[in-house]
Amino acid sequence: MKSPQELDRFEIRFSGLGGQGIITLGKIMGQGLALGHGYNVTQTQSYGPEARGGSSRCDLVISSKPISYPKAESLDLLVALSQEACNTYYPYLKSGGVLVVESDLVKQSPTNRFLGLPFTNLAKDKIGIAQAMNTVVLGSLSFLLPFVNQGTMRKSLESVLPSKIKAINTKAFNLGYRLAKKQWGDDVGDVWRDEEDLTRR
């Protein structure tokens, strides 16, 4: 494996509705980046009544150096899986940051620079269960983010799942990866591929 790309506080927020598996998504991605890719990662989340329905949120800070402040402050990537989450958190996206939305659930994007896929319906139609939606997202992001190694992330995903749902999630991951590549294009992650741009504070 080639040496990982240098990162200095790359901040991701996953947001949406309770029950969409947002925290699990953040946990698995964080674990993959921390243990599989060797980055420093802090993963924090909103707890409380909103975690039992309503809205849900999970943040990752990824860095090559030790992370002091563990929470996300200005986002490099916002993943919004509901209209409300998109409205609430879009202001935290830094200029040049990327917005990824669930294109069926986010009807009105606050910007016309965004990436979308109908993750829920993809999971329902192509995988057969809506609950695999978060894994489809994980697959798509593994394509989008240039510092994520697809194979490592898939392996990390498989390592945390119980055996009976492993195969279906692998399928969902691959679907997300494939569709992102097809719909979003090969150069979609170039914004972060520029190392100078990444290390500038």
Partner: protein
Amino acid sequence: MARRKKRKEIFALGNEAVVEGALLAGCSFYGGYPITPSTEIMEIMSARLPKTEDGVFIQLEDEIASMGAIIGASLAGRKAMTATSGPGFSLMQENLGYAIMAETPVVLVNVMRGGPSTGLPTCPAQGDVQQARWGTHGDHPIIVLSASNVQECLEMTITAFNMAEKYRTPVILLLDEVTAHTREKIEIPNEGEFEVFSRTIPSMPPEWYKPYEETVRGVSPMPPIGSGYRFHVTGLTHDRNGFPSQRPEEVVELMERIHRKIDQFFYDIQLVEEIDTDDADVVVIAYGCVARSAELAVQQARENGVKAGLLKLKTLFPYPRRHTERVLAHAKSLIVPEMNMGQMSREVKRVNMGRVPVRTINRIDGQIVTPSEILKVIMQG
């Protein structure tokens, strides 16, 4: 030198790291009652302890019972702990005092949430700092530790058990919701890479043994119940045998000894971490998750040409006076950010005694003090 054995890495919550630390320290008894945001500690213990060689897990009817059960278990020779949050911490105060009086080692983890009362069950705060110091009634010594990241949750839990055993006293580990609910990569140290201290067991014949002997160290050996050393344990003020006493000379001997046994070992107990303090004009004194914000703020201030430093408190009580004094030798001002109305800043001010300005940053809205808030105050000079 032989190459170090590779450490196991896990991506874990602060609360999970507490469990890892406890098990490494030899904890074999957990008694508790669920409460947000500490519950994961209990849940993981309930899965892990029954599968260890001698581990015991029990869910009690409330936090009062939890504290009673772990004191009982400790008297019977176990390294025992419980974990709770605000309201539960209040319920534990009475028996916490008992553990101090009966000199019973236990570890109590309090994951702080917003208060008073039911308050903000899912939001972070640091409002229990002075309660940890003075929550139980009567004059008493106490050791209070804290942690600001997930690796420290593991390390400070080990330290908490070691201090409890070494000084025959309850030790409180104060965490906050942010630290407890942050996931990070941590390394699990291998056996032999960290110290594990266990209470000394008496070797003299039972008839010579005095459980509360007046000694230089102030800590008597402690046999487990059932090992042939039959003695009396009480929350009443007692003599060296443990029998109740109201004689002034015996009362004062006991009270002075339980204070002395902790005060005189300040160099072992008072733990801090210093970042860029050597030449700092502005020193931020912080603990828990706020120390992480402060660390970033100090770094950013340095980048902006201000000589800032961070004194991170890992021991909150007894307050690290010595380290504060050292910082005060050259600092022109101190900043104490915390998620309360100013609880630790009182201690800082007591040491400072008006020498330099002490500025406080206080948040009580269930949100962490951010790096930019601290940076702003640092840059004010």
